[in-house]
C-alpha cells in the first residue's frame, strides 16, 4: 500500500494517517520510494534531502496530537524558506552550508498541523529568474519534457509536486515565481493576497512584493494548505491583523460568478495553444454557471517595466546583508574589509543576481531616483487602480499564467529581457498586492502542460478557488497523477 500513498491528495493522505491506516513515515517515504527513485535523477527538483530529518519530522508530527489538518503529509519547500533541520541556501553559493537558527513561520505552521518537510526544492538564485536555470546547484528540468524548463523561480517544488514526491509544496512569488512554474508543471499554484501569509523566515528579495505561495495537484489541497498557513504573525508586521478569508467553500460552485475577459492582452507574443486553453477554461466556467465579462486592460509591459525597477531596488537593499561577515560564503584572503565585501559578493552571487543588484542600485542612486524609482512607484499605483477598476465589473479575471508553454533550457538565459517577459501576466498581481492562482487545463498537442491564471481582488482567494475547482471538475484533466511516461504503467 505504501508504494501508492504518494498518489493521494494531501487531504486523503492526512485522513489516512489520522485514522491509523498509514503511518506518517510511510506517507513521507512513499514519494521517495516510488516517483523520486525514478524521476529525481532526471528532474533534479531537490537540493537538500535527509532521511534522518524526515524520520524525525514524521516522529515529531505524531507528537502534535495526531489530528492535524496535514497529519503526516510531506511538503517540499523552496530553498529560501528557513528550516531548522535542513540547510537554507537560496540556490546561491553565497549561502553555501547555511543552517538557519529558526524555522520560518509558515514552516512552524506546517509542522503544527502535522506536516513533514520532505526536502528543500531548487530555485533560481535568490528567486531571481523564470526557469530555475540560475541555480548554483544546476537547473531543474520539466518532468513532462526534460529538454524544457520547469519555470521559475520555484521550479524545484513545482516539478516535485508534479512528479509525485509530495502532494504539497511551498514556494515564494515576487513576480510570478509560484504561478509560472505551476503552469509549466501542470499543478495549481497560489500567490495569496499580500499580508496573508507570514514572510518571517522567507529570505527577502522584494519585500513589498514577496509572498509565500502554495503548490498542489488538487484545488482542494490549495484551500486546505491556505487554511493552515494564512493568518497574522507578530513576527511579520506586514501580515494583516484581521482574520484571513474562509476558503472552506472552495467546492461551492460558480453560479452567478462574473469573470473578466481582458482579450486585448493576448495579442502578439502569446502562443495559440495558450489562447486555446483560455477559451476552454472560459467555456467550462460558463457551463458551470459563470458569466464572461469582456473588458480592456492595461498591457502587461507596463507591469514588467515597473517591476524591474521596484523589485531590483528592493533587492539591492535586501541583498546588502550578504557580505561574508556573519554567515555563508567568504572569499579567501582579503587584505581589508572593503575587499572582503566586494570579493565575497562578486564570487558568491551569480550573474543574474549581480545584474539585478546593479540595476536596483542604479535606480536608487543620486540623480536617478526621481526618474526611475519614484516613476515606478507612481506606475505601481496606476496599475493597482487598473485592477480595482476591473473588479468593479467582475469577481475575478481570467488570463494567461504565462505567454508561452514551457520553453527549452538555454533558450532565454542569454537574453534577460526575454526572460523577464515570461512573467508579463503574473507581475501585476504582485504590484497590486492581490491574489493569483495558476490552474492546469490539460496538455498541449505536444503533451506539455497548459494553464490559465485567475486573478482576484484583495482577499479574493475564496472566489479563485471556487473557479479553479469548477475548471477542475468541468473539463480539465485533474492532474491526479503525472501523464508523463510513468514507468510502473509499463
Amino acid at each position: 500500500m505504501s508504494a501508492e500513498l504518494w498518489r493521494r491528495s494531501a487531504s486523503a493522505l492526512a485522513a489516512a494517517v489520522r485514522d491509523g491506516a498509514a503511518t506518517a513515515e510511510a506517507a513521507v517515504e512513499s514519494g521517495w520510494e516510488g516517483p523520486a527513485a525514478v524521476w529525481e535523477s532526471t528532474v533534479h527538483a531537490v537540493v537538500h534531502a535527509d532521511r534522518g530529518a524526515r524520520a524525525a519530522g514524521a516522529l515529531a508530527a505524531g507528537e502534535t496530537g495526531g489530528r492535524g489538518a496535514l497529519q503526516g503529509v510531506p511538503v517540499i519547500v523552496k530553498d529560501n524558506l528557513c528550516t531548522l533541520d535542513y540547510p537554507t541556501t537560496c540556490g546561491s553559493k553565497i549561502l553555501a552550508g547555511y543552517h538557519p537558527p529558526y524555522d520560518a513561520t509558515v514552516i512552524r505552521r506546517l509542522r503544527a498541523a502535522g506536516a513533514v518537510v520532505t526536502a528543500k526544492g531548487n530555485m533560481d538564485e535568490f528567486a531571481m529568474g523564470s526557469s530555475t536555470e540560475f541555480s548554483a546547484f544546476g537547473p531543474t528540468r520539466n518532468p513532462y519534457d526534460p529538454s524544457r524548463v520547469p519555470g521559475g523561480s520555484s521550479g524545484g517544488p513545482a516539478a516535485a509536486v508534479a512528479y509525485g514526491l509530495a502532494p504539497l509544496g511551498l514556494g515564494s512569488d515576487t513576480g510570478g515565481s509560484v504561478r509560472q512554474p505551476a503552469a509549466f508543471c501542470g499543478v495549481y499554484g497560489l500567490k495569496p493576497t499580500y499580508g496573508r501569509l507570514s514572510r518571517y523566515g522567507l529570505v527577502a528579495f522584494g519585500s513589498s512584493l514577496d509572498q509565500v505561495g502554495i503548490f498542489a495537484r488538487h484545488a482542494g489541497d490549495v484551500a486546505l494548505a491556505y487554511g493552515v498557513l494564512a493568518g497574522n504573525d507578530r513576527f511579520d508586521a506586514t501580515t494583516r491583523p484581521d482574520p484571513a478569508p474562509d476558503v472552506s467553500g472552495w467546492d461551492d460552485g460558480v453560479a452567478g460568478l462574473r469573470f473578466g475577459w481582458p482579450e486585448n492582452l493576448w495579442g502578439a507574443g502569446v502562443e495559440a495553444e495558450v489562447v486555446d486553453g483560455l477559451e476552454a477554461a472560459a467555456g467550462w466556467l460558463e457551463r458551470a454557471g459563470a458569466r464572461r465579462v469582456p473588458l480592456q486592460f492595461l498591457p502587461g509591459e507596463y507591469s514588467v517595466a515597473t517591476y524591474y525597477l521596484v523589485a531590483t531596488a528592493e533587492a539591492s537593499s535586501n541583498l546588502a546583508r550578504f557580505d561574508g561577515v556573519r554567515y555563508g560564503f567568504r572569499a579567501a584572503t582579503t587584505p581589508d574589509l572593503r575587499a572582503l565585501y566586494t570579493r565575497t559578493r562578486s564570487e558568491g552571487f551569480g550573474p543574474e543576481v549581480q545584474r539585478r543588484i546593479l540595476l536596483g542600485t542604479y535606480a536608487l542612486s543620486a540623480g536617478y531616483y526621481d526618474a526611475y524609482y519614484l516613476t515606478a512607484q507612481r506606475a505601481r499605483a496606476r496599475i493597482r487602480d487598473e485592477y480595482r477598476n476591473a473588479f468593479r465589473s467582475c469577481d475575478c479575471l481570467l488570463m494567461p499564467a504565462s505567454p508561452t508553454l514551457p520553453f527549452r533550457l538555454g533558450e532565454k538565459t542569454d537574453d534577460p529581457l526575454a526572460m523577464y517577459l515570461s512573467d508579463i501576466f503574473t507581475i501585476g498581481a504582485n504590484l497590486a498586492g492581490i491574489p493569483g492562482l495558476s490552474v492546469p487545463v490539460g496538455l498541449s498537442r505536444d503533451r506539455l502542460p497548459r494553464a490559465v491564471q485567475l486573478v482576484g481582488p484583495e482577499d479574493g482567494e475564496p472566489v479563485l478557488l471556487r473557479a479553479a475547482r469548477a475548471i477542475e471538475t468541468r473539463g480539465a484533466r485533474a492532474p491526479q497523477e503525472p501523464e508523463f511516461a510513468w514507468p510502473t504503467k509499463g
Binding site: P101, V325, Y327, L337, R355, Y420
Partner: protein
C-alpha cells in the same frame, strides 16, 4: 537611456561588486536594454504627485521592546565564516599606526 562604462563602474562600486574588465561593456549593454524597456513608463502620464505608500492597511506598530525571541551569542556565531572568543573576525579596518 544608455549606460556607459563609467556608470557601470560607479554603481558596481556602490553595490560592492567587482565587474571583470572584459564584462563591463556587456553589462552596460544589458542594463541599457532593460532601461530602454522601462522607458515605456513615460507613456503612462503619471503626473508628479508623491506616490502612495504600499504598506498594508492597518499594519500595526508594536512597542519598542524586545519581542522575547533571542539569539544566543553561540548561535549567532555558529554560522560565521570566522569567529573567535565571542566575536566575528574580519580583516583589519583601521591602519596600524604603530611605528
Amino acid at each position: 537611456m544608455t549606460i556607459r562604462r563609467e556608470d557601470v563602474e560607479r554603481i558596481a562600486e556602490l553595490a560592492r561588486l567587482e565587474i571583470p574588465e572584459g564584462r563591463i561593456e556587456r553589462v552596460a549593454a544589458e542594463l541599457s536594454a532593460v532601461l530602454d524597456f522601462v522607458g515605456a513608463l513615460s507613456r503612462l502620464e503619471l503626473g508628479t504627485e508623491a506616490p502612495p505608500r504600499f504598506a498594508p492597511a492597518g499594519a500595526p506598530l508594536r512597542a519598542d521592546e524586545p519581542n522575547g525571541r533571542r539569539l544566543s551569542n553561540h548561535d549567532a556565531l555558529a554560522m560565521a565564516p570566522e569567529a573567535e572568543e565571542g566575536f566575528f573576525i574580519v580583516p583589519p579596518i583601521v591602519e596600524n599606526l604603530e611605528p
